[in-house]
Structure formats: structure tokens, C-alpha cells
């Protein structure tokens, strides 16, 4: 085989490897993961490559600093979630070491650069967007804004497996936002 053909084969396989590894990981979590609901905000920005989405921002972004937190940004941490009486989950504890459990989620923690003495750290959740059809996105955004003004927060529904999370839906009043804004069938 000519070198160019060999390089092409490797490149072509790599082009499959990246999306397929993503498919495999996330399908596994969706199929076998534990469902968890988290209160969040969801405005409507735009991604130039992937289209319009609701930016899903869990309310809990600052949590007490775990013991021994190193002075750097982007530290992986493991959060254990606990479900409240309202059916929504919140961070119960944060660990720098991997912990096991069905409701453990891997987050990334960082210091507040302008306030390194703070007793809390920022956490980044492993999901930040929920893609919507371009035709529905404006209606969804308007609906979320209206509900927010009325004091009602959207809820992110995720699936958890082995610390990995996949965002499966965004709910308003327990109903999928896609269902709410979908035009009625003719």
C-alpha cells in the first residue's frame, strides 16, 4: 500500500473514532444511567457550528472548598448529589479523590482568581447546553424568560453513570421544553 493510502486510512479511521467514541460513551450513560434533576437557568445563545441552544446553567456554581484544594484552575472533583424533598438534586459533598456511588458526578473546580482567600470554589458542570431546533429556539427562550419572571426555574434532567453525565432534557413544570414549544400537529 502506498504511504499516502495508509495515511488516508488512518485519517479516515480517526474521523470515525472521535464521533463514535462520543456516541458510545453517551449512549451508555443514557441507557444505564441514573436520572437526576437539577434546577438551572437557561437563556438562548448561539453556537456557530452547532446552532441555537438553551444555555443550561445549574444554580450551584459556588461550593465550599474541599480540603487540600490545590492552587490552580481546572481541578477535577467528584460531587455527590443528594435528592431533596422537591425531587431536585443538590451537591452534598465535594471530593478531590474519585468516590463511588450512583449519584456521583465529575466536575471541574477552580479558584476565584480575584479572591483566592475565598472559602468557596467555582465548579463547572459537564453540560452547559441543550440544543433546539432553530424554529423552536426563539419560542423556547421567550417561554423560559416568561417563567423566570414568574419565579419558576427550568430543571435540567441528566443521566449519571460512573461519574459521567449526559443532559437528556430541560423541563418546565415537569414537562419537556421541546414538547411545550412544539407546534401542534396539523
Amino acid at each position: 500500500m502506498r504511504p499516502a493510502l495508509a495515511v488516508f486510512v488512518v485519517a479516515a479511521l480517526t474521523q470515525w473514532l472521535l464521533p463514535l467514541s462520543g456516541v458510545w460513551q453517551h449512549e451508555r450513560v443514557i441507557a444505564r444511567g441514573v436520572p437526576v434533576r437539577i434546577r438551572c437557568a437557561a437563556p438562548d445563545p448561539y453556537d456557530p457550528l452547532r446552532g441555537r441552544y438553551l444555555a443550561v446553567r445549574p444554580e450551584e456554581t459556588q461550593v465550599p472548598k474541599p480540603e487540600g484544594m490545590p492552587e490552580q484552575g481546572g481541578v477535577p472533583v467528584w460531587a455527590t448529589l443528594e435528592e431533596g424533598d422537591d425531587g431536585l438534586s443538590r451537591i452534598k459533598s465535594l471530593s478531590l479523590e474519585p468516590v463511588s456511588g450512583q449519584t456521583v458526578i465529575r466536575l471541574v473546580a477552580g479558584w476565584q482568581r480575584w479572591n483566592q482567600e475565598s472559602a468557596t470554589v467555582f465548579v463547572e458542570w459537564p453540560f452547559d447546553r441543550f440544543y433546539l431546533n432553530e424554529r423552536l429556539a426563539f419560542d423556547a427562550d421567550a417561554l423560559v424568560a416568561e417563567r423566570l419572571r414568574a419565579g419558576e426555574r427550568p430543571v435540567a434532567e441528566i443521566r449519571l453513570l460512573d461519574g459521567r453525565a449526559v443532559l437528556t432534557d430541560v423541563l418546565l413544570d415537569g414537562v419537556s421544553i421541546r414538547e411545550i414549544v412544539k407546534p401542534p400537529a396539523q
Partner: protein, 443 residues
């Protein structure tokens, strides 16, 4: 001579050889000196690229319609199907080897690149994956660049270069952001590595492939932008504002300007050397900014912050190496312009943090004036200078200083008229002088 002239010459040479107008050796030397583009030219690339873009856009539009109504497996099939189809066509074209036309190679390479990007973006969308779109661009670049190598595609190379520049700037922005907790890639390592990804295409395994004019411009611009982004990355200090950036950006620009060229490259006109054009203009702009007090103070202050950085020493070493080569090749004009980046280093030992920036600003004005005179003098000495750029620089300097001066509007107006007339007259004089054939030495 421009590319159409090169192509015309390449067409004429066989007949001239047959008719005995030129010898075989003479024809070979002319072919080497005025090489036509080996990749099939800009038109071929545009034909291939436009066709590929139309197909890609059409596919996206078809898929986007009623997207939400499809179950997940159908969406995945639609995301990955075009990739499989484009790979099959690319394989077929690749098997044609030299029989494949340049536009075919360009088209299949670009379609496959778009299909790979679309597959990654759609999978990412289907599973609501987090992360900036620039992260997706990074992976897209990595999986696409081999197509530029094996299908010798300039279009994919351009997409790759733009992609790595965009990703590098995004990472530098993330690093400089005070609000972001995210860790970013070490650009001092990653950008040179990513830039080296283009080496299998240019200069290629036999070290003789050169990018076409448009690709050269993208290559020079991507390198310059990327290196300045790396300078941002290297300048960020914890709990400190960015201090070293201005000087590191000047050093990066000087490195691009001094990039070594072979004999043929040196002989080419300035319009075919975008690294010299972009690097030189950027350095002039930065040096002109440094003729003001506050930027001059910041610039020389930044030397103290830059010198402890390894990246600064690497840039200085690269500049020293490139400058030595340029000196041996007699490239006096680029050496004179690149020297502007070293002024802060030479001034820094005589400046203390409490001093104001005026001595540095005045030094920069004088050095810029000297550089302009060198560029003009080189041309009059029969070397390849840049008399018009030198004259423009002097004109700009005088205008800037006149604008600062506490003079009446009438005096300033009259001065501007005199400067304008002088500049136009000089240009006419240079045009007439150049119309007389002269022997020149490379610079």
C-alpha cells in the same frame, strides 16, 4: 512577474527550446526561477472548493429540515452517512494517483473535511455536549489535516491554518480571562506543533512544494496571529496585569518577518512574500505606537517581565538564527525593519521603572526615521530596498509629530500639503527610476 506571466512563460519555453531561442540549460534555469504553481493554480482550487461548499451546504440544509422529528439513530445515521460517502469518493480519487485532476483532489478533500466537521458537530449536538465551539474546531483540524497531505489540497490546508489560529486565539483569550476557572492548553507547545502539521504539505517530503499566493497569505497571517496569541499566553502572570505582551508581540512579528527564504524566494516580489509584508507592516505599526510616551513606557517596562520567560529567550534565539541567515543572504531591508523589535532590549538597561517614557518614545522615532532612510538608501544603492515604504514611513512620522505639535491649524495644514506633494513627487521619481532596467542584488 505575476503567476499568469509564469504560466505563460512555462507554456512558451518548449517552443523556444525547439526553435533554439534558449538552450536547454537556459530553459531549466528560467523554469526554476519563474516556477508555475505545481498544485494546479488558484482557479482549480476555487472550482473544487465552490463545488464542495455547495454540496456541503445543501446537505446541511436537507438534514436540518425536520431534524427534531427524527429518532436519535436516524440523526446519527444522517450525521455519519455523508462522512462514509465522502471517504469512499476520496479513496477512489486517491487511488487514481497522478491521473486525478487537481480540482478533483481539492473537491473531495474539502467535502470530506466538511463531512468530518459536520459529523463531529452533529454528534456533539445530539448529545448536548458542553464546551466551546473552538474546542470542536481543534479536533476538526486534527482529523482533517492528513487530507491536505495525501490529497495535496490547498483548500483543506487553508481551513486547517484558519482553524488552528482561531483555536489558539480562543485559548489565549481563555488564559487571559480573569473570570474563567478553566485550564487551557500550553500554547507554547501546542501552537508550534500544530503549525508543524502543515510541513508534510509545504515543503513536503522532498522539500520542494511551495504554497500558492493565497495560501501563503493565510499561512503568514495564521502564523503571525498564532504567535501573538502565544505571546498573550506566555505573558499572563498570576495576580498581575499582562506586562510583557507588547514586546513579545514585537519579537514574534520580527521572527515571522525574518523567516528564511531560498534564492528563488528572495528574488520574488514583495507581493509574493506575505510574511515580509505582514510582519513588516505590523512591526511598523507597533513601532509607531511606541513613539508615544505611555506605550513606550509600557513597552520598555515589559522587557523586565519578558526576560525571565523561556518563550522570550526562544524567540530571541529564533530571531538570532534567522537574522544570521538573512545577513549572509544580504537581506538588509528585512534586517533593518526587524531591528525595530530589539530597541526595547537595548534601551532597557538605561531606563528605571520610575522614569517616564519620553526618552524611549524619542529613540523609537529616531530609529524609525533611520530605518526609513535605510530602506530608501538600499534602493538607490542598487539593492532590493523598499523606497516607497521608507518614504511612507517618514511621511507618517512627520504627520504624527505635526499632529502632536502645538502649532496653529494653518501651519499644520500647510505642512501637510508640503508633505503630501513631496510624497507624491517622490513616488513619481521612484516609478520613473524603476522603469530603467538595473541590476539588483537580493535583499
Amino acid at each position: 512577474m505575476s503567476l499568469p506571466h509564469h504560466l505563460w512563460l512555462a507554456e512558451q519555453l518548449p517552443a523556444w527550446e525547439r526553435e533554439g531561442i534558449v538552450t536547454a540549460d537556459g530553459a531549466r534555469m528560467l523554469r526554476e526561477r519563474y516556477a508555475a504553481e505545481p498544485q494546479g493554480g488558484l482557479a482549480q482550487m476555487i472550482v473544487g472548493a465552490v463545488g464542495a461548499l455547495l454540496i456541503g451546504t445543501g446537505l446541511v440544509a436537507v438534514l436540518a429540515y425536520n431534524w427534531d422529528d427524527f429518532p436519535r439513530w436516524v440523526r446519527l445515521l444522517l450525521a455519519l452517512g455523508p462522512l462514509a460517502a465522502s471517504q469512499a469518493v476520496s479513496w477512489w480519487v486517491l487511488r487514481q494517483d497522478e491521473a486525478a485532476k487537481p480540482w478533483q483532489r481539492e473537491a473531495v478533500a474539502l467535502v470530506q473535511t466538511l463531512a468530518a466537521g459536520a459529523a463531529m458537530a452533529l454528534v456533539s449536538q445530539i448529545y448536548n455536549l458542553p464546551g466551546n465551539w473552538t474546542d470542536l474546531v481543534f479536533w476538526w483540524c486534527l482529523v482533517s489535516v492528513p487530507l491536505a497531505w495525501v490529497l495535496r489540497s490547498q483548500a483543506v490546508a487553508i481551513v486547517y491554518l484558519i482553524g488552528i489560529a482561531v483555536w489558539t486565539v480562543a485559548q489565549a483569550g481563555e488564559r487571559a480571562s480573569w473570570s474563567s476557572p478553566a485550564e487551557v492548553a500550553d500554547l507554547r507547545l501546542w501552537f508550534p506543533l500544530l503549525l508543524a502539521g502543515i510541513l508534510p504539505l509545504w515543503p513536503g517530503p522532498e522539500l520542494r512544494d511551495r504554497p500558492a499566493s493565497g495560501s501563503r497569505l493565510v499561512l503568514a497571517a495564521a502564523t503571525l496571529i498564532g504567535l501573538i496569541a502565544v505571546a498573550v499566553y506566555a505573558s499572563v502572570c498570576p495576580r498581575e496585569p499582562i506586562q510583557a505582551l507588547f514586546w513579545l508581540a514585537m519579537l514574534s512579528t520580527a521572527a515571522v518577518l525574518l523567516f528564511p527564504l531560498d534564492r528563488h524566494g528572495i528574488a520574488e516580489p514583495l507581493t509574493r512574500k506575505p510574511q515580509v509584508l505582514l510582519g513588516g507592516l505590523s512591526l511598523f505599526v507597533m513601532a509607531l505606537i511606541a513613539t508615544y510616551e505611555d506605550p513606550a513606557r509600557q513597552l520598555v517596562k515589559g522587557v523586565g517581565f519578558a526576560l525571565p520567560l523561556g518563550w522570550c529567550w526562544l524567540l530571541l534565539a529564533v530571531i538570532a538564527g534567522f537574522a544570521t541567515l538573512a545577513f549572509r543572504q544580504g537581506r538588509s531591508a528585512v534586517l533593518a525593519v526587524a531591528g525595530l523589535a530589539l530597541v526595547p532590549l537595548l534601551v532597557a538597561p538605561f531606563w528605571s521603572p520610575g522614569d517616564d517614557g519620553w526618552p524611549v518614545a524619542i529613540t523609537y522615532s529616531l530609529v524609525l526615521l533611520a530605518t526609513a532612510i535605510v530602506l530608501i538608501a538600499l534602493e538607490f544603492l542598487g539593492r532590493q530596498g523598499a523606497a516607497r515604504i521608507g518614504a511612507a514611513l517618514i511621511t507618517l512620522l512627520v504627520i504624527l509629530r505635526m499632529a502632536d505639535a502645538d502649532l496653529s491649524l494653518l501651519v499644520k495644514g500647510l505642512a501637510f500639503i508640503v508633505i503630501g506633494v513631496g510624497f507624491l513627487g517622490f513616488n513619481i521619481f521612484i516609478s520613473r527610476r524603476r522603469s530603467i532596467p538595473l541590476g539588483g542584488s537580493p535583499a
